[in-house]
Amino acid sequence: MPFATARTITLQGALGHLVDVQVDVSQGMVGTTLVGRPDAAINEGRDRCRMAIQNSHFTWPATRRVTILLSPADVPKSGPHFDLAIAVAVLGASGGLLPEALERTLFIGELTLDGRLRPVPGVLPMTMAAAARGLDRVFVPEPQAREAAMVPGMVVFGVRSLAQVVAELRGEPLPDAPPVEAVSGSRLLTWRGESRVEEVDLSEVQGMSDARYAIEVAAAGGHHLLLSGPKGAGKTTLAERIPGIMPDLTTEEALELAAIHSLAGLLEPGDDLLVRPPFSAPHSSSTRASLLGGGTGKVRPGDISRAHCGVLFMDEFPLFNSDIVQALRQPLESGEITIGRGDETATYPARGMFVFACNPCPCGNYHPSAVVSTCECPELRRRDYRRKLSGPIIDRIDITRHVEPLSRKDTDDPVAPDPESSAVVRARVQEARERQRERYRNDPWRTNAQAPGPLLPLRWPLLAPAARRLDTDLYAGRLTRRGASRVHRLSWTIADLRGLAVPGIEELDVALRLRTGAPLPLAAIERQAG
């Protein structure tokens, strides 16, 4: 029975489903049927594949009934990259290829009418999904070979045409073909500020010892951070330097990030795995789609996903649209974002560190001292502005710090010690991260901020006096249950930075101050600086 199966992947957001493209060629009414919930692009692929096969000088079974089934039948499938799998499956079922040659292999590529391949977004996550299911070979359009090669354990064939694929599968020498152009069109979403972030260093920042300690704790444990202060206080300066004190991405994290870039259509053929944590700073006028993900057509990942395992900086946070702000609840809490449209929902990872910055009022000039303040905002506007930060969002922010602009005592101090460089702080953060990696080696999370709340008092309790103090605050209503969990995690991060085995009352005290925005004891800050 002329029957063949080729494999490809369909993506739902960042999740890949293995799809069997089963082709049956037999007697019956002449025609080609394609079933299994294909989308419009795949459906059109019938014609593309037929022409591609014929123009590559192979034979399309024109006198037979061709049935193409995309299995499993109930998963919605999308993307023009099914072409290659369909084409080779048809050839396999009609005698052009041995069906056995298609085993354990993934086929990705869109076909042109003359049989050439075109690149498609998402090759990396597709390859990752295939590797997870035991496939060990993949055919991709040539410009994307490097992307697919990022996945360990996969043999990658970068090919230019259907004819080359067939030749390879038959074990014949490859025919020539013109090279495939890389993904066309300009980058959909610009990556603002990325290169700048690599040039900056903490050694350029004077004073602000309180805020420096806060970003160190935030980076060490992956905690979300709010910086509030007047214009020019240095909030942006500090936020830009946070990626610099975070250690290099692990291979796993780098792959995840590259997969997201691939899905956003940003991965260039020559790109290597990104090693430094990403920094994304969307403007407060950003649309929902560009920030959270979505867009017309395919649901693409947004800024918050492209800051996965890095830093998402939302400056002038209260100016962002309320809907968007409320939608941040999910990524703040669980590190992923689910975007639904119609019956297609996509879940993208978004486990970056959120850094919010806000001014005391819309014009940014408010000062509590009536003598100094030059603010002209009406009271009502100021209240509305601050209200954005209330409730569910603020409850999910671990660290709150107030920053003031530098004064003479900071800039002209003749005996001020040289500010530490990013490298020095990064080394401490790295050590703290390693302690966390050790602690969570049998668990699926990597940092203190990701550890689930209910497990904290059971598996990683604080020392008794600290636990008692935390309970007291909780029952007195000074902390919500979620807040108590966050303070608990912060205590662990502080203990990790200090090299302690378990957090005690001192670490809890610092954690409470970090969360409530209370000033930190100098001893806690200076301890870091040796």
Partner: protein, 377 residues
Amino acid sequence: MSRAEERLARVALCRLSEPGDPRMAGLVDELGAVAVHRHLCAERDVGGMLTDVAARLADLEPEAELERAARAGIRYVIPGDPEWPAQLDDLARAETVQDRGGLPLGLWVRGPQRLDEIAGSVAVVGARSATSYGADVAGDIGAVLGQSGVCVVSGAAFGIDQAAHRGALAGGGRTVAVLACGADRAYPAAHKQLIDYIGEHGAVVSELAPGCAPMRVRFLSRNRIIAALAGATVVVEAAVRSGALNTANWAERLHRPVMGVPGPVTSAQSQGVHHLVRTGAALLVTSGAEVLEVVGKPGEHLQEEPRGPTRARDALSQRDTQILDAVPVARSASADSIARTAGVGLVEVGSTLLRLHERDLVARTEGGWILGAAARA
């Protein structure tokens, strides 16, 4: 009795006794330093001191001591010297605190700042376990004082002290550090760079001879020197048991103004200051400018009363306000309706509305009158 003899006697006595020992101060006041020195060296008991000092008699070499000090850039300033700060003399009349008190025998000084030029200085002291808030305020106060030419006196300790010194230096001003160890040492060791800088640009002062170690009880006697050298004392952050409260206590005894900077009521580091203010022992200040207002000459550095922003509505008479309050915000109303709501006669309402209209406080619409732009803050 030449000055040289006097000086040597005091150096010796300084080595023999602990600083701030009221018995020694009393004896020297009564008999004179040279006599007391002679008695003790001959192992004759005076004032019950012999037993305490006996162990130290053997190593006394005051001349060599002075020479060594001079080589290290340290001078010994004693009462009667031109450099002797007159404000210290108040110590002779003040009662003891925790068994420490009295005029110092002399002060060892390292640095170019003359002690007779700091009469108008301000001591800025506070908790060692300060918070970043306290350190910031202390630094800012120090900078303002320094910029205004007021010398800042403190103890170079962790927390508030070091912030105040550094603020003064950043403000381009003068600062004096009084230590509880010899003026050639740095305590705490972590502040060596700061203390050495002060030794080169200000003055490092000690009642203890060079080489002496800091011991607990010596901090208490040190605090009285800080309070006595300065014209006023500001406490920035102090917990309930802070040593800074001891300094404030001394300032009060010496009838110098005491000021305190408050903090959050939930902060343990501010509770000592709050207690001082509550009991009337300290005046509340919130900035360097306010400190200057307290210590400056009358009429100098006057601070403006803080005011909220004035709005157009504030300047209206009672009657006008009554009428304006009756003008609706959302939907306009007729003059009749406004008159009824306000409880004012129609004629008066009519003319007032016209006046208010000129100032944009009310606006005229088809339906009548509505609140104007200037009244919607």
